[in-house]
């Protein structure tokens, strides 16, 4: 099959699965998940074929796949807005991790939604499954996990989401990219609020949608500005040197802050990423998005959707780079660097004080994305792309692992009947023995996140980012990122220690069980990649092992840019520093929490004191936004618009008009209709009656009087004739 056709067909299987499940196979769980997993498998197959073809094509960056299949789509006056597909090295790398993670998550969802289990006792659609009571042959009653009531719906939405992500990745123009972006936004909304009967889920879904919407509006402004400047949205058009130069030399509309057009467009597009990838200040939705089921958190909020934000800025890097000189980065890149760095340290500090297993991972995602944005801001293109790929794998692994942990603890909850929060890490402990596969894969993922030296992919990609920051001389960024790396390692080890090591702190943790193979197989697969991928990106100049495996990552990805960035020479300082903070953080975390008992409070609380409260409450940003934005909006809606404008003014005007009309009607009725019109009518009637009554008098019934009258009138006529006729 030709590559171009294959690329066009990639988003199709998940979309078909969505429609088929929604329309036909809703009741049949087996058919629904088969359609879902089958579609993911088909797209995975297509992506792998394309990936293999891509890495075997030299000069893919200058001649990407798909440049021959452009379609005229929207007529715009004399010309057409054209859309097409594009697979250059960046796309190929993205397709790789997108296809794998989507497939793994589809498979995981089968087990997570408790396929094959009995229906729950009190389960209804819209709420989490709460367990089913079954009795065995002796009549003992057990509570077992129950099947998710909205089983097929989950796969349908995942299918739609996958279609959106594939569309975004393979598109060659900003418009279809935006379409995929928005489809994913919709699916994020639908899936965060999957258990829609829960009030917290409902609030979270709206919060997510509205917050990303803020970013999307600015992004759309950027797209519109770009289109109006150069008349095209296609990447190949935008990244031509003469287009970039033109954008760089025109000042931005309104002369905002002295930016060029390219700078303003870049910043506007980046604001879209701030929303989608949950950077500060639009980070508030991602922790609340953990209300959704864990596969959703894994896919959308770790591996794919939030990565789409970073993908966008990586893709638009040439535009962002316009105006930067070897000494100074361009204003757009400066914004990226600032926001990224701030986000990285900000959310890492919050993560150390969280007790929910998924929240820690959410803040960790925000922090890692901040890493990537900061690195892109200082120009480390290849490192960012590399870290994007590795992060997707180990973050998805970590989330799926946490889902497995939660399922295991829930099993214990059903068994013992305790009422505890199965997601709170302080209710876990000692799960290493109960859930070994989950433990080992989670450990690999956690080490990758912390950057455990040499054997995890996370080390290689994170180290490259730190090396770039150091090597290009951005000291502030470097120091902050190192601090964030230390905190990352610390909280990751805190999480692993609290969850898996030590002794079980509750009965439920005591009775936890390993999960189904459909959940543990994806964990193992992702763990494999989390380990091995890093070895493809070892810098050539690394001591000892550098050069053993060629730096495929660098070679392949750097081809995407017209001016390939050269690899930095090896520097020992950032390497040592990164090993130090990684191992140091891990050790500190293990030491602090290995003896944690259930009754004791978090030792961090006594260590940090009031700072701990601030961190636990996420720097009170949610409360700040509520005060500054949410309440005024409510006020505006309910008081101002509803009462003042709508009821007071508009309804007032209407009531006034009604009263005036009514009064005019009254006046007309009482002063014109009744007296004049009715009066005239009555007057005619009574007048005729009175005339009749008057005339009645002459009808006396007396013959002589009749004769008299006749003669009088006859005489009248006769005299008239006499005096007019006779004289003549």
């Amino acid at each position: 099959m030709s590559t171009d056709l294959l690329i066009w067909l990639l988003p199709l299987p998940p979309l078909l699965a969505f429609f088929l499940i929604v329309l036909f196979t809703r009741r049949n769980h087996a058919l629904s998940h088969s359609l879902g997993v089958g579609a993911a498998l088909l797209s995975w197959l297509g992506s792998m074929v394309i990936f293999i073809r891509a890495i075997n094509t030299p000069h893919l960056g200058s001649h990407p796949f798909g440049s021959d299949s452009i379609v005229n789509w929207l007529p715009t006056g004399d010309s057409w807005l054209q859309i097409g597909v594009r697979v250059d090295p960046l796309t190929a790398a993205t397709l790789f991790f997108v296809a794998w993670t989507i497939l793994m998550i589809f498979l995981y969802s089968v087990g997570y939604s408790n396929y094959g289990q009995p229906k729950g006792d009190h389960d209804k659609p819209g709420l989490q499954p709460h367990g089913a009571t079954i009795s065995d042959e002796h009549g003992h009653k057990h509570v077992v996990p129950s099947v998710e009531p909205m089983y097929s719906r989950f796969f349908a939405f995942l299918g739609l989401f996958a279609c959106g992500m594939y569309t975004l990745v393979v598109s060659d123009n900003l418009l279809t990219l935006f379409i995929g972006w928005e489809i994913m936004g919709l699916c994020s909304y639908l899936l965060i609020g999957f258990w829609y009967q829960k009030p917290s889920a409902r609030a979270a879904m709206i919060k997510a949608f509205l917050t990303t919407r803020v970013g999307d509006v600015f992004m759309l402004l950027g797209i519109a500005y770009l289109y109006s400047s150069i008349g095209s949205l296609s990447f190949s058009e935008i990244f031509k040197p003469e287009t970039l130069q033109k954008l760089g030399s025109t000042p931005a509309v309104g002369g905002i802050l002295g930016l060029s057009a390219a700078g303003l467009i870049g910043i506007l597009l980046f604001i879209g990423t701030i929303g989608k990838s949950a950077q500060w200040p639009l980070h508030v939705w991602l922790p609340d998005a953990m209300e959704g089921p864990t596969p959703v958190s894994a896919m959308i909020h770790a591996a794919t959707m939030v990565s789409a934000g970073v993908y966008l800025v990586i893709r638009m890097f040439p535009l962002l780079q316009v105006g930067s000189t070897p000494e100074n980065i361009s204003p757009a890149m400066g914004v990226l660097a600032f926001i990224g760095t701030l986000t990285a340290i900000f959310s890492a500090t919050i993560a150390v004080a969280q007790n929910d297993i998924k929240r820690v991972l959410a803040y960790s995602t925000i922090s890692q994305l901040g890493y990537m944005i900061a690195a892109l801001g200082i120009g480390a293109y290849v490192a960012v792309a590399f870290h994007l790929v590795t992060h997707a794998f180990f973050k998805a692994l970590l989330f799926l692992g946490s889902g497995s942990v939660i399922h295991g603890v829930e099993h214990g909850v059903y068994h013992t009947g305790e009422t505890i929060d199965p997601q709170n890490m302080f209710n876990m402990g000692g799960l290493r023995k109960k859930m070994p596969i989950t433990f080992w894969t989670f450990l690999i993922g956690g080490f990758a996140l912390s950057g455990f030296p040499f054997i995890t992919a996370g080390f290689w990609s994170k180290d490259e980012i730190l090396a770039e920051a150091f090597g290009r001389g951005y000291w502030v960024v470097f120091i902050v990122l190192v601090l964030a790396a230390f905190l990352t390692a610390f909280y990751t080890m805190r999480q692993i220690t609290l969850t898996f090591l030590g002794k079980p702190r509750t009965q439920s943790a005591q009775h936890a069980q390993e999960t189904h193979w459909t959940m543990t197989l994806p964990l193992a697969t992702l763990a494999f990649f989390a380990v091995t991928l890093g070895w493809l990106g070892i810098s050539e100049s690394f001591p000892l092992i550098g050069g053993l495996i060629p730096n495929h990552v660098h070679e392949f990805l750097s081809d995407t840019l017209l001016v390939p960035p050269e690899a930095l020479p090896f520097n020992l300082a950032p390497l040592l520093l990164s090993i130090l903070v990684s191992l140091g953080g891990l050790t500190l975390g293990w030491l602090m929490y290995r003896k944690q008992s259930s009754a004791a409070e978090d030792p961090l609380q006594s260590a940090l004191g009031p700072v701990y409260t601030v961190l636990k409450n996420k720097y009170y940003f949610d409360e700040l936004y509520d005060l500054l934005l949410v309440r005024p909006a409510y006020w505006l809606a309910s008081t101002f618009t509803n009462q003042l404008l709508d009821r007071g003014i508009i309804d007032g005007v209407l009531h006034l008009i009604a009263r005036v009309a009514s009064n005019v009607g009254h006046v007309f009725r009482n002063y014109i209709d009744k007296p004049v019109v009715n009066g005239f009518g009555d007057f005619v009637g009574t007048g005729i009656k009175k005339v009749g009554q008057g005339l009645r008098i002459i009808q006396t019934g007396k013959v002589q009087q009749y004769l008299l009258m006749a003669l009088v009138l006859a005489f009248g006529a006769m005299f008239y004739l006499l005096y007019t006729v006779i004289p003549h």
Binding site: K702, Q704, Q705, L708, L711, V712, F715, M718, F719, L722, I726
Partner: protein, 170 residues
Amino acid sequence: MTPEQIIFIIVAVVTLTAALSVVTSRNLIHSALWLILALFGVAIFYVLLDAGFFAVIQVIIYIGAIAILFIFAAMLTRRVMQDSDPQTNSTWWLGALIAGLLFAGLALVLTNWPGLSTPASPLAGDSEKIRQLGLALVSPDHYVLPFELASILLVAGMIGAIYVAGEKKR
């Protein structure tokens, strides 16, 4: 003044007086008797006009039948009206006025008519007058149709009078 004119004047005065008495008399029987006199006067006029046949017809029919009928009717309805009641109705002045006006108008018309003073031409073939009248009344070329219709009218009147005035069978 020729003798004819004197006779005329006397008869005219008598007749008119009788007629006035007819319409002003309180007693109905007296009115009927005065009517008989008036009719006599008219008969004499017929004689003066060389229409002797009509004079006889007048006497026989009008006086002999009609006036007698009046007396019968007056007798039959005598009880209800007293002779002392006023005989004229409430609007008698208007009636008098009208009658006077009518006379004035007629007189005016007559005096302005030139043919008024036509002298009487001598009659031609007077012995044949009655025969002529009889033939005219039954001849299809002349007046048989009005004659027949008049007879039908008399029959109808007779039947009607019998029916209307007849005693209703109980």
